[in-house]
Amino acid sequence: MIPMNPPTETPLFGSWPLAYAVVIGALAVEIALFYGLMRWFA
């Protein structure tokens, strides 16, 4: 049997907690990259 699509109120990332984690994780990665960039070229 072909599985049904998830309900329409779920985000592109699969679940809302995962979508929120992606956004917060991206911020953490950006801060780390900015810090690295600053130190590298200081």
């Binding site: 109120e9 985000p11 592109l12 979508a19 956004v23 917060i24 911020l27 950006e30």
Partner: protein, 567 residues
């Protein structure tokens, strides 16, 4: 500007407006006019939210800040992704389920009409003033390029946007936002690419970053905790979080954007898209400013970027002093250029000692140039007391006009214009919808007038108010982007506090919240007046004060009433 630039500028603006009007053609109900019939998909919501926040100020002031102050301003946006998550979890489902037109409608359901009116009033005051600054920002471009009178230019800009916002409503605004974001992204990428391309042949992107790093312009992260410091990691994460939560959660110019989402999912996804893209976008805009700084290491930079004031100074009684300072600027610029070349040679030869030495020379020359610039700014002010000492907003514009090719000049000026039009139109729309929904409907609940017509008249009224404010903005004398953020921070914290009490502390009623908000707003103004802290902290102080005071008043008054009952 050449005729090609004028054609591109006029054509881009005309096409954008016509496209928006075409998409919003036909009869509109109040739902269509205010919330685009709640019909938009998530990417449309996300781009509209981003376009509303990214006004002309973003593209005028941010590169200037990158040029003069480095990239530390990016930290200001660190709280934004966190705010998007909190909004998606709490605010969005509640607003959607209650089917409200404005955020403030919810407050009457939760508290009473008094709290709703106070909050809507604070919003109208803050947004009306900020929009005045947003009208002024692109107007200085026209007045600088064409030598037009700034007051007439303000009038033209505010009026032009007014015509299009009045006719098309939210649907026209949202569709122009899509096109706006596309043009802005393309134009900024080309500008950044050409800036690097215009550097000397032996200097690549990495070399440019090295020069910027040694001159202290890659100051992306500052981990020191200091409430007086305007931009550091903590003020960005904590103060920025409160500011962005207030802006996106309680400012109708943004709430009105994501309420156009077809479902809760579409609104949430639009906000999360903003959370993912905003920090990289702001980083790239600041980076363009830093690249312009590196460019000017190899080309003669103006001692003061506002040419109009320089001309006034040269013709005035302080011309001798100016000539002396200009000579000093040229000598120091040559010294800095030598230091940059020495740095480049040392890094190519992998000579660490020489690299450090050249870095120090560069830092020293840069500091001396900054002092000379301050002295020139003081001279400008002495020569013309009405002049703006801050020339940050002119840096990117001057660079575009002096060094970028024709055609691209027209496109970049168009980019600044349409960004401004997008955010001003969204602001007019939100001011009008708040006036109609939160004021007009409450005062005249049985009115039989068509609400779309009332909204259109209200938009015109707010347009006039904002243009009048714009006429006074040139006396502020600081970075425009900071002025808008300071204005927002004076009110946002208190408004957020009211919404926090509404959402999270069910036991607190309207009376306690109202008085807590009034006192908190007074305290924030005192903090600003006495310069007690950097402006981002006003958001934290305002919000926490409302919550704590409302809780205290509730306890105090419940004790009083229980004493009265028992006696």
């Amino acid at each position: 500007m050449s005729s090609l630039d004028w054609w591109i500028l006029g054509g881009t603006i005309a096409l954008l407006v016509l496209y928006g009007l075409y998409k919003s053609r036909g009869t509109q109900s109040f739902d269509d006019y205010t919330l685009a019939g709640k019909s938009l998909p998530w990417y449309h919501v996300g781009l509209s939210v981003m376009a509303t926040q990214a006004s002309a100020i973003t593209f005028l002031s941010a590169p200037g800040q990158g040029f003069a102050d480095g990239m530390r301003f990016v930290q200001f946006y660190f709280g934004l992704p966190l705010a998007m998550v909190v909004l998606s979890i709490t605010f969005v489902p509640i607003f959607h389920k209650l089917r409200v037109y404005t955020a403030y409608e919810f407050l009457e359901n939760r508290f009473d009409g008094r709290v709703r009116s106070l909050t809507a009033g604070l919003f109208l005051l803050q947004r009306g003033l900020s929009t005045g600054v947003s009208i002024y920002a692109p107007s200085i471009i026209l007045s600088t390029i064409l030598g037009w009178n700034i007051y007439w230019t303000n009038l033209l800009m505010g009026g032009l946007v007014l015509l299009y916002a009045v006719w098309g409503g939210t649907k026209a605004i949202s569709y122009t936002h899509l096109t706006q974001m596309l043009i802005v992204t393309v134009a900024m990428f080309i500008a950044g690419f050409l800036t690097v391309h215009k550097l000397p042949a032996n200097m690549g992107f990495t070399d440019a970053l090295r020069v910027a790093g040694k001159a202290g312009r890659l100051n992306l992260i500052d981990t020191t905790f200091d409430v007086k410091s305007r931009y550091n990691l903590w003020s960005g994460l904590i103060g920025g979080f409160f500011l962005q939560l207030s802006y996106f959660g309680t400012d109708q110019s943004q709430v009105g954007r994501y309420l156009t989402g077809e479902t809760i999912k579409q609104s949430r996804m639009g906000l999360l898209m903003n959370g993912l893209l905003k920090v990289p976008m702001q980083f790239l805009i600041l980076l363009v400013g830093v690249l312009v700084f590196v460019f000017y290491q190899f080309h003669e930079s103006p001692v003061f970027f506002n040419q109009q004031e320089v001309v006034r100074l040269q013709a005035g009684p302080l011309a001798g002093d100016f000539r002396q300072l200009n000579q000093q600027h040229l000598t120091l610029s040559a010294q800095r250029r030598e230091a940059v070349l020495a740095l480049q040679r040392a890094t190519t030869q992998h000579d660490d000692a020489a690299t450090t030495l050249a870095g120090r020379r560069l830092e020293k020359a840069d500091a001396a140039l900054a002092k000379t610039h301050t002295a020139v700014a003081d001279l400008v002010k002495r020569n013309n007391p009405a002049a703006d000492k801050n020339d940050l907003n002119y840096v990117f514009l001057r660079f575009i006009l002096d060094y970028l090719p024709h055609g691209l000049i027209g496109l970049l000026i168009a980019m600044i214009f349409i960004s401004s039009m997008g955010s001003i139109a969204a602001a007019y729309s939100s001011l009008a919808s708040t006036t109609v929904v939160d004021m007009y409907r409450r005062v005249w609940p049985n009115s039989t007038y068509d609400e779309v017509v009332v909204s259109r008249w209200s938009t015109i009224g707010w347009g006039v108010f904002c243009v009048v404010v714009a006429q006074f903005t040139n006396r502020i004398g600081s970075s425009l982007i900071e002025t808008v953020n300071i204005l927002g921070s004076l009110f946002y914290g208190v408004i957020l506090g009211i919404f926090c009490v509404a959402f999270y502390v069910k036991s607190i009623g309207g009376r306690a919240t109202f008085w807590a908000a009034v006192i908190a707003e007074a305290v924030v103004f005192i903090c600003y007046y006495l310069d007690l802290m950097a402006f981002l902290w006003f958001n934290v102080v305002g919000c926490l004060l409302v919550v704590v005071l409302a809780w205290l008043f509730t306890r105090l008054w419940s004790q009083e009433s229980s004493v009265r009952v028992s006696s």
